[in-house]
Each structure stands twice: as structure tokens, then as C-alpha cells.
Amino acid sequence: MGAAPVRAQLLAVGELAPGRSALLLRLPELIASLRAGHALHLLHAEAGGYRLRRVAPVTQIDLIAGSVQVALQPRADGGRDSLAELVPGAQLSVVGPIGQPIEIDPDALQILIVTDVEGFPWVRLLATSLAAAGRSVTMLLESSTAAEIPPASLLPESVEIHVATEDGSLGHHGSAADLVATYAAWADQVVAAGSSELLSATTLLLRAAGVSDRTSARVARPRGEAGAKRLQLIVAHEIGCGSGVCGGCTYQSAAGSVRLCKEGPAVTPSGSTGRTRGAR
């Protein structure tokens, strides 16, 4: 707890999707420790007065360049994020990694990712790294309209993308959850990231399809929690202490409370992390 902040230099400000900012950082101290599912806590180091550290999921890692891309999550109040207005060369104070990596079963070869525009930053690195490891990845990507969809170039060509738009402007007319049943039997493991509605719908559909109880031909799993772990939900949070003490990101579930900044962001539908929990 309480990792010391390190300095990062802002290399570039870009977009993951229209209106969704991303920052490219030079971050040599932390880069080797970052994995898919991790986030960073960011602060403009040179700003004075009252400040809050924002949670920014790691979306890309370039070990050779020593750079890390993170996404700025939209503020719940709709306000502009001052971090997006910084110019290259600015110094950021960074704490991380925040959370735990998303765990993928070593024997899971076919991974289904269900997400929306807000959840995409949490799973982009996962999709990229799984594809690089030779696993088959299918992404069901939901957006309100075609214009808001992240460009396909952000993912490796081997990732199969199926789009759903609420207004029907591209792909399936409706929710990405509508497509889940089609891929439920194919997937060895499912990761969902996005709105609470998408997570709930995905969970219900997979349960209806029996996925969480199905025993894979490759991976023999007992019924119950071990099977349920095959569906992981990524629960995002916006700000907080980053140290697990403030209670701001505590996710209440049937399995107990999960501090997303420490044990998250991935939880099973029952709310457990599937990891050994330390004393608080």
C-alpha cells in the first residue's frame, strides 16, 4: 500500500475514440510491472492547490520505447479533464500499478471480450497481449452510434471484432450483449468491461447459456465458483485514494467487498476476485 509516486513525462495527447483522450507517457520506473487490467493514478505534478488523482487504465505498453499509453476516463459530471489539456513535455505524478492484472486461464485459447466505448480502454491491452500470445480473441463492441466506435486499427488484425450500435448505424442494431449467446459456446473464457447494464446483461445471458457451469473439454472445472471464474467483469472507478483505505472503490458483492484499486478491477459475477485476499 502507498506506493511512492514517480514522475512521468507526457509524450503525446491523443484519442482512443472520438472525445476519449489518451496520454502517452515515458514511464521507465513502472513499465516493467504493468499488465493488462492495471491502471495508473495520475496527477499534474506542477499543478498546485487541491487536486485529485484520476484513475487511468493502461491501454498500451511499448517496452522498447519505454512508453505507456493510458486512457482518461470521462468525468461523471461531464466536465473536461484538465489532464487532456496538457501539452507534451508536462510532468505527471504517477502512482501504480493500481489493481491486479486480469487473469486468463493458461489453457483458455479462445477468449471472448464484451465491451463498450467506456470499457474498451480496460480491455484493449488484454486483447492485444492475448493476440500476441497466439490466442483467439473475439471482441463484441457496443456503442451508441458508429461515430463513437474506437478505430479497428487500435487492435491487432487477428482480433475478430463485432460491432453493435444502439442506433443501428453500424453492425448489430442493439446491445453487444445480444451477441453473447452466439459466442458463449465458443469461448473458453469471457471478460466483460463497460456499463453496469452491459455487465449485468452479459452475466445473465452467459448464465442462461450455461457457460459459467459448463465444463470445458480442455479444462476440467468443477461446478460453482471455479466455473464462474470463467466470466470476469471489469468494474471501473474514477477517483479515490488508490491505497485501499478510503472506501471509494469498494465493490459490494455476495462474496464480500472488493477494493477495486487493490484487488480489482476484475471480479467474478459473484463478486470475488478469485485471488487470495490480504488482511486490511
Binding site: M1, G2, L43, G48, G49, Y50, R51, L52, R53, R54, P74, R75, A76, D77, G78, G79, S93, V235, H237, E238, I239, G240, C241, G242, S243, G244, V245, C246, G247, G248, C249, T250, Y251, Q252, S257, L260, A279, R280
Partner: protein, 323 residues
């Protein structure tokens, strides 16, 4: 202004209250909430710069919190709803009592009770384990919900607030700090009643309530709906509350303090000590910066103690306390 006293010789200690006094080595208080119950706090900040650490709210039985989102950023601060989630008195003692004993500052436990009976039982529970815990004071949280008010805050009415204070006073001889927000009803009368009851200090560090719709405007930005506000947006209201109760009893001034200059404003408005909260997440060095700034400010005015800064703005010295 030329300094007549060296900053290093300015006294930092103070004694709050008289009938149940509480001595603080430094006029810096860590507000209840942002840094947890105690065990983790010393890993986040240097408690040697602090006079009093106040724990997160503790109740007799475990209290669960609301769904996410619990914290969202708003212009000038944050909106939060943790609902005094805690694992209950026994688990808090088991996990954190050793940290309280080792703390290089005074420790107050913030008590959360929805009725007087549970408050008395909660205090009795702490005092029955006095051989294991070192508690220097209790904070009575009047911003927590009351059964008698159907979940509204104790501070919503003067009578309810005084009722809980009296119940606490009858239950312990330890110093009591009463926590209120700028939303408290009949602030001045409440402060005077607290003084009459033998309360040691009033902590104006509680969060006023707030609400914001989600971006889609189909629900609240917080899952809980209405939440509590922290940050610079509440600072002028918190300072007004400090001013309105000044003179009734010692005041711990908080609410949106994010810099040493903000802390000097709180002293100038009448606070004997200042309370720091969510600003510590971004700036763990804030307590020391506030302490050093206050020492320099006192020295620049030829004051022997930081506590002499309290109420400068109310005594005709209209210039803003500054470095």
C-alpha cells in the same frame, strides 16, 4: 512585515477545551475518512507532522456501503457516498489498535450511531477493551444518520444533535469532539449547547450534502443518489460555519483545505486547528507544509504560538493571513 520571532521558536502545541482537555502537539488534524482506520495511515503520511488522527467512522455492528459509483469528481471537488461503511467495532479494534498505540500523535475514534443506545453501547465496547486500545478522544459524528429522523443527519435539528451529544457525555470521561457540517441546523445554538455539555471541540469538517445526475441524466451520478461534498467548492461555506461558531468552543476547521494558504484562512476565520482530508491523497506532504507555513505566518506577526493565529480575521486584522 518583519519577523520578531523566529519560525523555529513558534510553539505548535495547543490544548483544546478545559473541562475535558485534549492536548495536541501540532494543530493539524487528519479528518475522519480519507486515510482509513489507522493501520494504513502511517504508510501514507508522516504522522509526526500531525496532532490528531481521526479514524473512519466506526459503528457497533458492521455497516455495508452502497453500490458503485461511490465517488465522482465534480467541479471544485468530489461527491462521495461511502455511508460510513465499516467492519464494526470489534474488527476495527482487532486490526487497528496496535497502530493507535504506536501513533506519534493523538488518536480519536469517530463514532457512528443511529440512536443513543447504540452510541452508549459502542463507547462501552471501546472502554471494555481499554487495555488494548489507546484512544485520546471520541468524535461524535452528527453528520451520520439518525433513526429518529428517518435517516436524516443528527445535525438536521438542534434537539437531535444535542440529544446525541448528551448521550455521549454521559457515557465517557474522554474528550469529545463533535463533528458537524455547514448544513447543521442552528449552528451557533448547537455549538453553545455542546460547550455547556462539556464538549472539548467542534470539528467543522463534515461534508455538506450534494447531488449530481449521471451524464445520461437517467439516474444519479452516485449509485446512492444524494452524497456528500468535499473539496474547494465547500471551503467558503465551511469557513462561514467556523466564523458563526467562533468563541463558543475550540474549533477544528476543515472542508476543502488543499494548500497551506487554505489552512491559514481557516486559522484566520477562527479555527484553533485545521483538518485535512481528501487533499492528502494527492499531497501526502500537506501536513508538514501547513505546519511550516503556519509557523512562518505566526513568526511574521510576532506571535509566539500557531494557535495565536486563530480568529485573526475576526479581530480587526482584515488582511489575509499569508506567508
Amino acid at each position: 512585515m518583519e519577523a520578531r520571532v523566529g519560525a523555529a521558536s513558534v510553539r505548535t502545541d495547543l490544548v483544546l477545551g478545559s473541562t475535558h482537555p485534549l492536548r495536541l502537539e501540532r494543530p493539524i488534524v487528519i479528518a475522519s475518512g480519507p486515510l482509513g482506520f489507522g493501520a494504513e495511515a502511517s504508510e501514507l503520511i508522516d504522522l509526526r507532522d500531525v496532532g490528531l488522527f481521526v479514524t473512519r467512522g466506526v459503528s457497533l455492528a458492521p455497516r455495508s456501503g452502497p453500490s458503485l459509483p461511490r465517488v465522482v469528481e465534480v467541479p471544485g471537488g468530489l461527491l462521495h457516498a461511502i455511508s460510513r461503511e465499516n467492519p464494526g467495532v470489534d474488527e476495527v479494534i482487532d486490526r487497528h489498535a496496535s497502530a493507535w498505540r504506536a501513533a506519534p500523535c493523538a488518536v480519536a475514534v469517530s463514532l457512528v450511531a443511529t440512536n443513543e443506545k447504540s452510541l452508549a453501547a459502542l463507547i462501552a465496547r471501546f472502554e471494555s477493551r481499554a487495555d488494548q486500545v489507546r484512544i485520546d478522544a471520541y468524535e461524535i459524528d452528527l453528520t451520520s444518520p439518525s433513526d429518529a429522523l428517518d435517516g436524516a443527519r443528527w445535525e438536521s435539528t438542534l434537539d437531535e444533535g444535542v440529544r446525541l451529544i448528551d448521550a455521549a457525555r454521559e457515557s465517557t470521561e474522554l474528550p469529545l469532539i463533535v463533528k458537524i457540517s455547514p448544513d447543521a441546523a442552528s449552528l451557533r445554538a448547537l455549538a453553545e449547547a455542546a460547550a455547556d455539555a462539556g464538549v472539548t471541540a467542534l470539528s467543522v469538517s463534515g461534508s455538506p450534502i450534494g447531488y449530481l445526475p449521471s451524464r445520461s441524466r437517467t439516474r444519479g451520478a452516485l449509485a446512492e443518489g444524494v452524497g456528500e461534498l468535499s473539496g474547494p467548492l465547500i471551503r467558503p461555506r465551511a469557513l462561514a460555519a467556523v466564523v458563526s461558531v467562533h468563541g463558543a468552543l475550540p474549533i477544528i476547521g476543515g472542508g476543502g483545505i488543499g494548500s497551506p494558504a487554505d489552512a491559514l484562512d481557516a486559522f484566520a476565520a477562527g479555527a484553533a486547528a485545521v483538518s485535512l482530508g481528501s487533499a492528502l491523497w494527492a499531497d501526502p506532504g500537506l501536513p508538514r507544509a501547513v505546519l511550516e507555513s503556519a509557523r512562518r505566518a505566526a513568526a511574521a506577526r510576532g506571535l509566539a504560538s500557531i494557535s495565536d493565529l486563530a480568529g485573526l480575521a475576526l479581530s480587526g486584522a482584515n488582511e489575509r493571513a499569508s506567508e
